[in-house]
């Protein structure tokens, strides 16, 4: 009797153990992969950014060195009345200041307008195409569009008396032509998200507002915009992350030139690491990028971890 009880007890324990092992095997392969190939590299980059080339832990001198570099922040360019190059960090900032409001707003307007346009699926696909193509092709198209001879934009502006030139090889236009091109590439993103968001707003809200005699403006500001707030958070976050990480486009369109006047942080990190073999500076730039992206992403991370099933 006692031995029988003991046996079932052991059996039960082995079943529980077996179950635990199965459950571990659901999680472990990916977690190990992530630990080796993402987490460990990220931590060593962070560590590398804290250690001076001579081997002392001295983050302040490393970061001071990078922030003092003219390719990161060019105080001379700023003091000369914002003459390019301004430095990669400020170029990224400028990119955000111009690109973020335009793409977000344009995407919203398009999503609203296209609701009752015939053939809206075709128009949406066309605008979304910029999100589908490789960014390296996107960068090439930017160069192509702004080329002195084959580019349609300089030729078009020639009608208004602007002398055609290669926009991407002049310091004062290189960055702006890429920002313009990236608006063309990215507007599809906010448009698609807002379109999806609009379709979740119940039609009855609009009908009720119309019955009450609300103007289209009033309906937009009191119903549409507040209902789209969570989408706006996502659109803004993802757009800023994209703007910070921009690399391929610049690599193929201008390579950051001329003279660094269209350089961005992600490209400068690559140049430090794989052209100049200065891994300390490269790691500092990468860490700065990571800190900014994390700061930007915190609201979204906070909102997404809480929605687990109870």
């Amino acid at each position: 009797m006692v031995s029988l009880f003991k046996n079932t007890f052991i059996e039960k324990r082995t079943i529980v153990l077996k179950k635990k092992i199965t459950r571990l095997s659901f999680l472990l392969p990916t977690l190990i992969l992530l630990a080796i190939f993402i987490l460990y590299p990220a931590i060593s980059t962070l560590y590398l950014s804290l250690v001076t080339p001579s081997g002392n832990i001295d983050p302040i001198s490393n970061y001071e060195d990078v922030f003092g570099r003219r390719e990161i922040i060019n105080t001379k360019g700023i003091s000369q009345g914002f003459e390019f190059p301004l430095g990669a960090l400020l170029h990224n900032l400028l990119w955000i200041i111009i690109h973020l409001p335009i793409t977000t707003f344009l995407g919203l307007i398009l999503a609203i307008l296209l609701r009752d346009v015939k053939g809206n699926a075709v128009i949406k696909s066309i605008i979304f195409l910029g999100m589908v193509i490789p960014m390296i092709v996107g960068g090439l198209i930017v160069r192509f569009m702004f080329d002195k001879y084959v580019g349609i934009i300089p030729s078009f502006l020639n009608i208004f008396g602007v002398i055609p030139k290669n926009w991407t090889i002049y310091p004062e236009t290189a960055l702006f032509s890429m920002i313009l091109g990236s608006i063309w590439l990215w507007t599809g993103f906010s448009m698609i998200l807002y379109s999806a968001g609009l379709s979740t707003i119940p039609q009855s809200y609009y009908e009720a507002a119309k019955v009450d005699g609300a103007s289209p403006m009033r309906i937009f500001f009191s119903i549409t915009l507040p209902m789209l707030k969570p989408i706006t958070t996502v659109v803004i976050t993802m757009t800023v992350l994209w703007e910070l990480k921009i690399f391929d486009l610049v690599y193929v369109a201008t390579m950051g030139g001329p003279g660094g006047s269209s350089n961005v942080l992600a490209l400068q990190m690559y140049l430090y690491a794989f052209r100049q073999y200065n891994f300390t500076r490269a790691s500092v730039v990468a860490t700065i990028l990571m800190l900014i992206t994390m700061l930007v992403a915190i609201p979204m991370i906070k909102s997404s971890k809480g929605e687990e099933r109870s």
Partner: protein
Amino acid sequence: MKKNIFHTIITHVFAWAFALIWILPFVGLFMTAIRPYDEIIYGWWKFDNFTLTLQNFVRAWNHPTAALSVGMRNSLLVAIPATIFPILIASTTAYGFSRFKFKIKNYLFITILILMTLPQQMIAVPIFRIMKEMHQLDRFLGIIIVHSAWAAPWIIFFMRNYFSTLPIEIEEAATVDGASDFVVFFKIVLPTCIPALISVAALQFSWVWSDFFIALILVFSPDKLLATQRIPLMRGVYFVDWGLLSASSILVMAVPIIVFALLQRYYIKGMVGWTLK
């Protein structure tokens, strides 16, 4: 009523004008690719002479130093396993995060969310060193592993959210009948997830195909270069050969565009779900 018609016309004109501007770069690229160089040198929009030629595509395909025929094959050899492998392991993990209870689950999940926002630059230097140590530099296996690891966080996130929308009763019933977690997952749960898996596959395949940064760091011998890496190499030394460049751009972007065209619904659902929930 009159005001309504006016409004409709304005909206339509605006929307289609917008679409026209937006497609113009693609039209230009296409026109440049299918015509000889001397016809487009002063603008592809001039149609005084119009000769149709596939010469640019042939030259891009058989380019002496950066042949796209090899590049596209290489990209397929990387993108297909780098789509299947992470989906397999990450969706399994996602199921674990959605259904199992364990102590450090929340901390692990937040870590994964943070990894999702990481810039690729953050792993570039160490991953180069690791791959060198493992003798996987300049090899497809190395880049497949990095892409799989890189994709795992967002696939886990996406699939976990999908799993939490599924009814749990069927799984519980199967467990009561004595089915193990593996049987429940692979036989019951996974078949109901096919739409979500197609979304993930469409996006992951397109992204790996379009990737440039990871390839730039890990692959460098001329016969191994991926399709995206070959485009910057096709720039001429003395002049920019736009015929060749536009033809190769069209070939390289054709693959993700075909994926998008065939799986449009899944592609957009993946995009919206991946960012929204």
